[in-house]
């Protein structure tokens, strides 16, 4: 492994996050944190006609958690609810494009957890207990 663990595009998303901020009156708001490292994230979604029309996230934490949130926000904007529900860890790993060790997986998947938590709160999907799975 060399310098390119923190590839340009990851650092780019970290320093210049897409869809950063909050929405004035979101249809869905959710948040979560990763107390082990102090990563923290919240996400707002606007839903129209079964589509995610707008997304904003805000948070602090390591480059991996914040970059993956930025990438995820790009993935979900404009998608149907069904498409967003289908997003999983593989999609995040593919977007990051680097191997994620078990110790860093909580960082990488924080935004995904916040997204699905939001969808569950809105009653759009069943709460999942993915965290109970063996990694």
């Amino acid at each position: 492994m060399s310098m390119d663990y923190y590839r340009e595009y990851i650092l780019d998303h970290y320093k210049d996050p897409r869809n950063y901020g909050t929405l004035e009156s979101p249809d869905i708001h959710s948040e979560d944190s990763n107390p082990l490292c102090g990563d923290q994230l919240n996400m707002d979604l606007q839903i129209e006609d079964g589509h995610v029309t707008e997304v904003r996230f805000q948070g602090r934490g390591c480059a991996i958690s914040q970059a993956s949130a930025s990438m995820l926000s790009e993935m979900i904007e404009g998608k149907t609810i069904a498409e967003v529900i289908a997003l999983g860890k593989d999609d995040i790993l593919e977007a990051l494009g680097i191997p994620i060790s078990p110790a860093r997986s909580k960082c990488a998947f924080l935004s995904l957890r916040v997204l699905h938590r939001g969808l569950a709160i809105a009653g759009l999907e069943k709460p999942n207990d993915e965290d109970d799975e063996d990694e």
Partner: protein
Amino acid sequence: MVTSTSNSLAGRTIAEIRKDFPILERTVHGNKPFIFLDSAASSQKPIPVLEAMDHYYRYSHANVHRGVYEVSEEATAALEKARVKIARFIHARQSKQVIFTRNTTEGINLVAYSWGSANIQAGDLIILTEMEHHSNLVPWQLLAQRTGARLEFVPVTDDGQLRLDIYTQLLEQQPKLVAFTQMSNVLGTINPAKAMIAQAHAAGAVVLLDAAQSAPHLPLDVQELDADFVCFSAHKMLGPTGIGILYGKKALLEAMPPFMGGGDMIRTVKLHESTWNDLPWKFEAGTPAIAEAIGFGAAVDYLNALGMDTVRQHEQEITTYALEALQAVPGVTIYGPEASLRGGVISFNVQDVHPHDLATILDQEVGVAVRAGHHCAQPLMDRYDLAATARASFYIYTVKEEVDILVQGLQKAQQIFHF
């Protein structure tokens, strides 16, 4: 790794000492030498410790204490000999004052349950400090919840020292117990334990000393300190995981009810009641970690051969060197006191590179293992308004060249994040 350091410990060069630790010869991420700067979390193990445990399992294993055959008697003798070695290492008056536990955490819980339930009542005061490891915090929170006791905390200064003026004030409220760490696992601060214990005693309190970080790195004399309870873990001092000790003053231990019930800790058992075994076995229910105790004894032998004064001296040299080297890197913030007041632990941050990113870069780019996070001391992190820090920590096998590589790694991290 080849080391040019001229350092020596008790007549042996560091390069020779490093040969006792096979893991230090391995590489990570391809062919990078493994630079281990995480001994405060758990140290590496020298060959004599591994061999002592291996020999026991190969040739002397049987359950202890009630076997009346040669091998069981051998195993029992080896276990009890380890206890004596550890007792001498900390200058306990009698080896029966040394109780085997799984680790520091279990020792503290033992006191919180056994001594705590017999001695702490609603409204009683327990004094802790803001720099405690969760191990020396949560058991007292649980005790306070069970009994209605109050907890008060000695604050820390900006440079990581206890506010002894406030400690003195708190003692006026006549606490029942004072529990504090002899050395902070985050800041490296070595607290003035002897004076603090004397003050606590004058106020009528019993004192528990968390020696998880101090026993591995400083000469420890429980009688000179006059500590009532002392806990530490073998795995941070060259020994195996799964074993530690609780030292206690005899009168206190004898008056305490058992912690866990089971085999070994009893004298007689009837269907509805039992009587307790003598110290130390009263507190050692069930089959003990025999091999681990023997390994712990071998670790203590190893440290004794070097001499704890020498260990301390070597670490002070490395720590002073590392503090200077880190301070010279632009953008590095170091937490904790000056070199003379600290053990071999340095917590730091590099501008706004998250410590987890830093630890990943150090691992992947230069093979350096540091810890990143809250180090099981969240209240201390809150005190400094930090989410996390990176932490480098040192031991007898650490050489200056490794600190240099850490510094190179920090510079790489800064390059990667374009600062």
